[in-house]
């Protein structure tokens, strides 16, 4: 992917806080990232790491209260999405930026036909007539590989299978030719053979339509197959980012390293014992003052509990990680520390 191209989406210092009865939860803590035209950015992290909240914050999709966007800038098309009026934002949502949610059953409206839900963005954003919208809807369903498209427009979501519903979701997200598509765990609720179908479809559509995609998942295998660049999140922060090959071949952050080791493979040699990351992710009741991974990190040392590491560059271009180990002359070998 061209490194020199201007980013289509540029996020700086994004901070989102939820105010709950049990106190504040800092879900997104100063997240910076950008997305270049035509690129597929994979966002990896466990539940609660803030990956979905980050993407929902970009489009101000979180209900407020309890969510509160404390800080940050989201530059898209020369505008700051966090500053523009709700009317202007509505013109962008679903037209220039499309969104695919994890669970196609709960994100489609069960009382409207698929045809109606497909036509809605077309009529609202592109001002199409009913007939035009209908023609385009049929095209879209054909594009995502739903057979007998014309007839299926009259069907309701429950008449589709899980994989087909996810295709409908993709069709709706693509309706207005978005420049950016945000896919939040689009295959997590699906079986592997259906997941393979959807991934092939997205690869194909990407070539055909050339949009930039943000793909959120916890499945490192999926990311390895489709992403150009990967961003690893932990406790609401980006702990590592870089080109996909670099992240998998030479992960720098101990969390990324551990994450890659805990997943057993279906091919190749089989591990006798699974590596584990002891403990569990923290709940952030305040802005991070120290490394959030230190309690689970086998390399943690004094400095890790004194300040919060910022992203710093690693040898390979575009590869950055937030870890103090990178400041040390050399990274310790895992074997030496395991003991």
């Amino acid at each position: 992917m061209p490194d020199t191209a201007m980013p289509i989406l540029d996020v700086k210092g994004l901070k989102t806080v939820f105010r709950t009865r049990g106190g504040e939860v800092h879900a997104v803590n100063s997240v910076d990232f950008d997305l270049r035209p035509g690129e597929l950015l994979g966002v990896v992290g466990e539940s609660g790491s803030g990956k979905s909240v980050t993407m929902m914050s970009l489009l101000r999709l979180l209900p407020s209260p309890p969510a509160e966007m404390r800080d940050g800038k989201v530059m898209f098309d020369g505008q700051d999405l966090l500053k523009i009026s709700p009317e202007e934002l509505r013109k962008i949502r679903g037209s220039k930026i499309g969104f695919i949610f994890q669970d196609p059953m709960t994100s489609l409206n069960p009382v409207y036909t698929i045809g109606f839900q497909l036509a809605e963005p077309l009529r609202a954003h592109l001002g199409m007539s009913k007939a035009q919208a209908r023609t385009r809807s049929v095209e879209l369903l054909q594009l995502v590989g739903i057979p007998d498209a014309e007839r299926r427009l009259k069907d309701y979501p429950h008449q589709f299978s899980g994989g087909m519903r996810q295709r409908v979701m993709i069709a709706i997200a693509l309706a207005c030719d978005p420049q950016v598509l945000i896919a939040d765990e689009p295959t997590t609720a699906l079986d592997v053979t259906i997941q393979a179908q959807i991934i092939e479809l997205v690869k194909e559509l990407r070539q055909k339509l050339g949009m930039a995609i943000i793909w959120i998942t916890h499945d490192l295998g999926v990311i390895a197959g489709i992403a150009d660049r990967v961003m690893v999140m932990y406790a609401g922060q980006v702990v590592e980012e870089g080109p996909v090959g670099e992240i998998f071949r030479d992960p720098q952050h101990p969390y990324t390293q551990a994450l890659l080791k805990t997943v057993p493979a279906v091919r190749g040699p089989r591990e006798e014992k699974l590596q584990v990351i002891e403990g569990q992710p923290p709940i952030m009741h305040g802005a991070p003052v120290a490394c959030s991974f230190r309690n689970r990190c086998q390399y943690a040392f004094d400095r890790c509990s004194e300040e919060n590491p910022e992203l710093r560059s690693v040898s390979a271009p575009g590869h950055r990680a937030a870890c103090f180990l990178l400041d040390k002359a050399s990274t310790p070998e895992p074997e030496a520390v395991n003991g």
Binding site: E46, M164, A196, H218, G225, Q275, Q280
Partner: protein, 345 residues
Amino acid sequence: MAEVETVAPLVKVRDLKMYFPIHAGLFRTHVGDIKAVDGISFDILPGETLGLVGESGCGKSTVGRSILRLYDVTAGTVEINGFEIAHVDRDSLRSKRPMMQMIFQDPQASLNPRMTVASIIGEPLDEHMKLSSDERLARIYELMDWVGLNREFAKRYPHEFSGGQRQRIGIARALALNPKFIVCDEPIAALDVSIQAQVVNLLEELQERLDLTYLFISHDLSMVRHIADRVAVMYLGRIVEVGSREALFAEPLHPYTQALLSAVPEPDPESERHRKPIVLQGDVPSPSNPPQGCNFSTRCPKVMDICRQIEPAVRDFGEGRQVACHLYSESMQTTAEPTAGDITN
């Protein structure tokens, strides 16, 4: 494990069928059946882990539940530790319950939110054993130690724990009565990646220490490859292939197993770039109206005419490898008797 051939299986399932009736119309007449499990047979040896894989709706959880008689099975026999389970009356079944237990998928839903950890783990003890309160507490503490829960948490409620810890409570409860056989129904599906490995390692440790036998039901093929000794693959209510872990993952024979394995993406960008998965067309047919002939014939990339007419018989490939597919109809002999096979490989 060299003398495997001489060991009698702990669990013996023969031609198990579990149909759920469909009632419709004003008079709720019986109009058909959902054939969730449609004639499956397998053995599990003592101390072994059999992995049962398949996609959602293929009937794998129903298999787990029916062999523990959580359902009244439609037909077939289930023998656990020499006792017939499938058709005995309630009272004699109750006395057999301690030896067979279950770990459920969702620890949130399978633990009573109003009971403390101690009362959840202690409930099976109250039901099946007569212990003094000191003995009971000692046993609860022992179980909590086994699964790595702090004893101080005995008085806490399930909502105070994380998903991984809740699953540990469910495991402790399943172990309370010294079972021989445990059905693990997607025990890690609801957990985060970094927590999954912790629970799987715990299950392996406990198996070694307590000499347990597992039926490990999962849709996660890489985890099954890690934990199981032998693997059975289900599709639409039937087992399409059984084999030792090494053989099955190295060289899947049934077209469905091939597609299933090839669909799993691998965390390696280099190999992913060149990998061409077998992408199946269409969706799984409804189990209330399975296709004629082979159940997989509607999606099979290697389908032949015969597949749409005749249901393939189970063929034995030796060393415990069995495949139900017409592709291998010549040269192989048909067998009705499932073998436990050689897990040493």
